[in-house]
């Protein structure tokens, strides 16, 4: 109950911060791109709408997840509202979990609206929906899963560092996560304890490379149901791991 109360308050705060403006910018960008590409290129209107739409959903979403995630704890300390909250019968884990749930809800609505914007733009370039549009929605779902992981990372870093550093760390991990496959391959090359250390570090990185399906769905290719299950379970597991670390870090943190 306490977690949900904090989640609701976090969601309201994000809405007050005009976080949900990004889908409006997104819709304008999509429509503009669809019209522009029709004028300057040949035969790729639909491809551009899907590819640009998925890329924009990712990058707008990551920016929102990081910007809101890194400020969650720091802002509460700055405004001294954290002390008021924690002086009540609210455990620290409940505070972290509530903040995460609230932000996850904001990101889900944000991403959902951008997904609808993408479908509307697709409707503009090719009238009528086709079966392949379902895979575009699955790609949006994969992006939402990535955003949850990025949001959890931002929250983790915000529990023990400044907002600026937390933002840098979170974005760096988002970039590194896209090279996860290469990192694991490179880690295999070491010997002795460096090998184990490198392999451990490589597996600690979020594996975003498995979530990249944009190029395929743009051509109407289907996504294997096994990949949908794997990515869903991986995102939940990894987010759980990072949230546990965030709760531990917040429990150990001295608040004065």
């Amino acid at each position: 109950m306490t977690v949900l109360t904090i989640a609701r308050s976090t969601f309201r705060e994000a809405v007050r911060d005009r976080v949900l403006y990004s889908p409006a910018v997104f819709a304008v960008l999509m429509t503009g791109a669809a019209v522009l590409v029709g004028q300057v290129s040949i035969g790729i209107e639909r491809l551009v709408v899907i590819n640009l739409g998925l890329a924009a959903t990712t990058f707008f979403g990551v920016i929102v997840a990081i910007l809101v995630g890194i400020g969650l704890v720091a802002k509460e300390i700055q405004k001294r509202t954290l002390y008021t909250v924690l002086s009540r019968p609210v455990a620290r884990w409940q505070f972290v979990a509530g903040k995460f749930v609230g932000l996850a809800g904001t990101l889900a609505i944000n991403g959902g609206l951008m997904g609808l914007g993408l479908l509307a733009a697709l409707r503009y370039v090719s009238p009528g929906f086709s079966g392949a549009d379902v895979w575009v929605l699955v790609a949006v779902y994969f992006i939402l899963l990535q955003l949850l992981m990025v949001c959890a990372l931002a929250l983790l870093f915000s529990t023990f560092s400044s907002p600026l550093l937390a933002g840098v760390f979170s974005f760096a991990l988002f970039v590194l996560g896209n090279f996860a496959g290469e990192l694991r391959e490179a880690a295999q090359g070491g010997v002795g304890w460096t090998h184990h250390l490198a392999v451990g570090a490589a597996y600690l990185m979020p594996n975003f490379s498995a979530f990249s399906v944009a190029a395929g769905v743009a051509h109407g290719e289907s996504i294997a149901s096994l990949l949908i299950w794997h990515n869903s379970i991986y995102a939940v597991t990894y987010t759980g791991l990072v949230l546990c670390a965030a709760i531990l870090a917040f429990e150990w943190r001295e608040l004065q």
Binding site: V37, I42, I44, N51, T58, N178, E182, S209, A214, A215
Partner: protein, 222 residues
């Protein structure tokens, strides 16, 4: 207060106008060729990594750049297109399913200048790469046969390409006719007319259709 706002607004407009004028002046001083002929990143593998999982979007951008590059140079009646093949190679390596880049790219590459880049061998390589990744696209076999017939004058290969295309499910029925026609009546005007008529009939793009009409008119005048 109001006067200050108006003053700041006027200053803003003046700064904007001045910066736009300066950018335009700088653009005029740089030669158009110097701007066009820059290709900073040549490696599709590097671009794939830099795209952070959105290589399809980067491929679309490179394809659009190839279209713009060809369009601008073609309009200027240029006789060389040094960046066309690398741009097409990058676009198709990043997104091998981008069939439009093979179909139109081959048409940009193969005709002799100033209609194209005069690189039919490169066009054939491009289309064969496309066929390897999209064996179900009958139009690519048609493009391959077309280039072999009209630009390379290799009628046996043209007939073979049309024949392979005819076996693809859903292929245009004319491919079978073209395969037989190119094998039996190679080099004849009637065969060339048939090829351009098929292009006219099977394409919806206005530029391609206009090009086909132009060639049909030229054949009629012979």
């Amino acid at each position: 207060m109001r006067r200050r706002r108006v003053g700041v607004g006027l200053l803003l407009a003046a700064c904007l106008a001045s910066s736009v004028a300066l950018v335009r002046r700088t653009d005029e001083q740089q030669s158009a060729t110097a701007r066009d002929e820059m290709l900073y990143l040549h490696s599709p593998a590097l671009l794939r990594r830099l795209s952070l999982g959105h290589e399809g979007l980067v491929a679309d951008l490179y394809w659009t750049r190839a279209v713009q590059y060809f369009g601008v140079r073609h309009h200027a009646r240029a006789r060389t297109f040094p960046l066309l093949e690398p741009l097409l190679e990058i676009a198709t390596a990043l997104d091998p399913k981008l069939t439009v880049a093979y179909q139109f790219g081959a048409n940009f590459l193969s005709p002799p200048p100033p209609d194209g880049a005069g690189q039919p061998e490169k066009a054939i390589q491009l289309v064969e790469f496309g066929i390897r990744h999209n064996p179900e696209e009958w139009r690519l076999y048609y493009n391959l046969g077309f280039i072999n017939y009209l630009e390379m004058k290799d009628y046996a290969r043209a007939s073979e390409a049309f024949g392979r295309g005819a076996k693809v499910p859903g292929a245009h029925p004319f491919l079978r006719v073209l395969a037989a026609q190119t094998a039996e009546h190679a080099g004849e005007v009637e065969t060339a007319r048939l090829l351009w008529e098929t292009t006219l009939e099977s394409n919806t793009d206005p530029l391609v259709r206009e090009n086909a009409r132009k060639h049909l008119r030229e054949l009629q005048e012979r």
